[in-house]
């Protein structure tokens, strides 16, 4: 168990190392990368990806997958946008509405997977078509603009502005707070609650988890609903950054979220993965994207690099696991 723990940590350390090396290379080629403006820019433009990746993590840990996140977050931005425009400009209520609608959609996914035993990829594929279809029908693909001023001002708030460049103050965007909140909450749930233990147990071996006494159905429903809640939050955060709603902004975003989580070392093989790993995965993903732009490498290369890093990192993981397993077997034989 201790060995597994150490190896898992080394896995995260490995991605961190890649991140450091990539960052150094990018800085050497394009010094602009390592400037405070740019780093804050990366931070702000990837907060939503990071929040959603953390939401996806528990689902992937149990061997599930959710391809409906992109349609869910698009729907949330539309609901919140319409709410702010037509009902109330209250920011707190906007967050409440966003999280609630996200949770309901997630709950539906959870019920389909847990109660009707529909395989996750198929169930979420179905809900994706439905949610996306309804969203696009409702908005007809049109943007929602002209959100209330107080909401836009809220999105502009920065904390600890310490750097002045021209007119604009640079500081930690308020959206970062939500990322920290989500990260701490998810970390706490995964590490310090019975549900979290259950999530890892289900990911390791569903049947064993059931026999030990975990209510697998309830855990499954919880984690999809929790993911929905986080996606709801991400939707409001996204709206506060973009200050408008584009129903098509998230097309194909689910693949980015899944890639980032997988890049961060999460794997359904034995229920590995942690919040810190996912955050490093998102960081690597965003640094690669940003760095390629700064190095004036055509953005088309971005996909190739991400694809190769993805395959290489999972390949490394799998080979390592196989080596460990063959090693373990030998130990067992010797002990016997």
């Amino acid at each position: 168990m201790k060995v597994a723990q150490r190896l898992k940590q080394s896995r995260e350390l490995g991605i961190l190392l890649i991140l450091v090396v990539v960052s150094i290379v990018i800085t050497l080629v394009a010094p602009a990368f390592f400037s405070i403006e740019n780093l804050f820019d990366i931070l702000k433009s990837n907060v939503v990806l990071a929040i959603m990746a953390i939401g996806m993590l528990p689902v992937i840990l149990t061997g599930g997958i959710d391809v409906s996140v992109s349609s869910m977050v698009a729907a949330v931005t539309i609901i919140v946008g319409k709410f702010l425009m037509n009902v109330s400009g209250n920011i707190f209520l906007a967050f409440l509405v966003g999280c609630l609608s996200g949770t309901i959609m997630g709950l539906i996914n959870g019920l389909l997977v847990a109660k009707l035993k529909i395989p996750p990829i198929v169930a979420t594929l179905g809900t994706m078509s439905i949610i996306l279809g309804v969203s696009l029908y409702y908005t007809n693909g049109n943007w929602i603009t002209g959100l209330p001023k107080n909401f836009i001002d809220f999105g502009r708030i920065t904390i600890g502005s310490f750097y002045r460049q021209g007119e604009e103050m640079i500081g930690f965007p308020i959206q970062l707070l939500f990322l920290i909140l989500v990260a701490v909450l998810t970390w706490f749930i995964l590490r310090h609650t019975l549900v979290g233990r259950g999530i890892y147990a289900v990911g390791g071996n569903r049947v064993s988890a059931e026999r030990v006494g975990y209510n697998v159905d309830r855990i499954t429903i919880f984690l999809y609903a929790y993911e929905g809640f986080i996606v709801g939050l991400a939707g409001v955060v996204h709206t506060s950054i973009m200050r408008q709603v584009d129903p098509n902004a998230f097309n194909g975003f689910e693949m980015q979220v899944i890639s980032a989580v997988v890049l961060g070392g999460a794997s359904s093989l034995g229920g590995y993965g942690s919040v810190s790993g996912t955050l490093v995965g998102v960081a690597l993903f965003s640094v690669i994207n940003n760095g390629l732009i700064l190095m004036h490498i055509p953005t088309f290369w971005q996909k190739i690099v991400v694809g190769i890093v993805l395959i290489a990192s999972i390949g490394f993981d799998v080979t390592q696991k196989r080596y460990r397993e063959s090693h373990n077997t030998k130990v067992d034989i010797e002990e016997a």
Partner: protein, 331 residues
């Protein structure tokens, strides 16, 4: 006792396709009644027969991999990459003034070579390295998309010889050529998957790769072959698509990816592998085509058609779940 349960499962498996056939006839008749002047016309039937083969071929490419216990998220980008490199050969050779005969021959050969190379890469990553198929093909699809974009710089490749357009647009005795290709693909897939030792091994691997390996089957070799077969089908779909559009672009057909999973699952393929009938998948594709064309003719908003498709997917799986539960209780 054992043979009794075997018979029961056998009966259930056969009835799965029978139910699909009834659903197909049902929706077809329904659409014909709702819109006899537009739906049930030779023109509409012909246009459906032009649209159906692409999704149909992709669905079979997806289904064979799912049967082996895997998943191929790279099908559309395999098709796109082979279209783009094949298209490049077609347009460059045409521009160089080489006649259409050798150009098309070389072009089509390129489609197949590139497609098979993509399939071989998937096979190596899944079978030899041992990455979970869904993640492996997620990685390769990103990779293929990147290569496509790098070649086209986001644009489309065009300038094919006129004769190449024949593949996607011609009719023989009123039957669209893509439909003929589809029928050949279905027949080939049927014999390969359900009537050959190779297919039998793929079903076995899908049920349990470890046991299959212990019973003397070379799991790796057969997995390689199934990804190659899937990629070959993608290359064929790529030829039909680029011929129909008279150009090649990375985004062509990207919507077929999720649709082909839906079609395979609606067709009764077990998403965790080991079960699936070619006939079922074909019926599912036909049902999807009839519903989407029919609703389109009836003037239903295309976004609502998406909603209905998603609803049908969930509904069918719910019915599957309820009926399997009832059967388990009856035992």
């Amino acid at each position: 006792m054992k043979s009794n349960t075997d018979k029961k499962t056998l009966a259930r498996l056969q009835s799965k396709e029978a139910v699909l056939l009834f659903i197909f006839i049902g929706v077809f008749v329904l659409m014909s009644v709702l819109s006899p002047t537009t739906f049930l016309t030779w023109r509409n039937l012909q246009s459906m027969a032009f649209q159906l083969p692409e999704l149909g071929i992709f669905a079979i490419a997806m289904m064979v991999v799912i049967v082996s216990g895997g998943m191929n998220l790279s099908i559309t980008y395999t098709a796109a990459l082979s279209s783009i490199i094949g298209g490049l050969v077609l347009s460059k050779m045409t521009a160089a003034g080489i006649g259409p005969g050798p150009t098309i021959l070389a072009g089509i050969a390129t489609f197949f070579v590139v497609g098979l190379a993509c399939g071989a890469l998937n096979g190596v990553i899944v079978a030899d390295i041992g990455i979970a198929p869904m993640l492996a093909t997620l990685g390769t699809s990103t990779l293929f998309e990147g290569i496509c974009l790098n070649i086209t710089k986001g644009g489309a490749i065009s300038g094919f010889p006129d004769a190449f357009l024949w593949f996607g647009n011609a009719t023989i005795l009123g039957v669209p050529f893509p439909m003929i290709v589809f029928v050949v693909v279905v027949a080939a897939a049927y014999f390969l998957m359900e009537r050959s030792p190779f297919g039998f091994k793929i079903y076995m691997i899908g049920c349990n790769p470890t046991v299959t390996s212990y019973s003397g089957v070379n799991v790796k070799k057969n997995l390689h072959r199934v990804y190659l077969f899937s990629a070959l089908l993608c290359a064929i779909a790529g030829i039909l698509m680029s011929s129909r559009y008279n150009s090649a672009k990375e985004s062509y057909g990207s919507s077929y990816m999720m649709q082909s999973i839906s079609a395979a699952v609606l067709g009764g393929t077990d998403i965790s592998g080991g079960y699936g009938r070619i006939f079922g998948t074909v019926l599912a594709v036909m049902i999807i085509q009839v519903i989407s064309s029919g609703l389109n003719i009836l003037g239903v908003n295309r976004f609502i058609i998406n909603v209905i498709m998603g609803g049908i997917l969930i509904l069918v799986l719910t019915i599957n779940f309820i009926s399997s539960g009832r059967k388990a209780n009856a035992k």
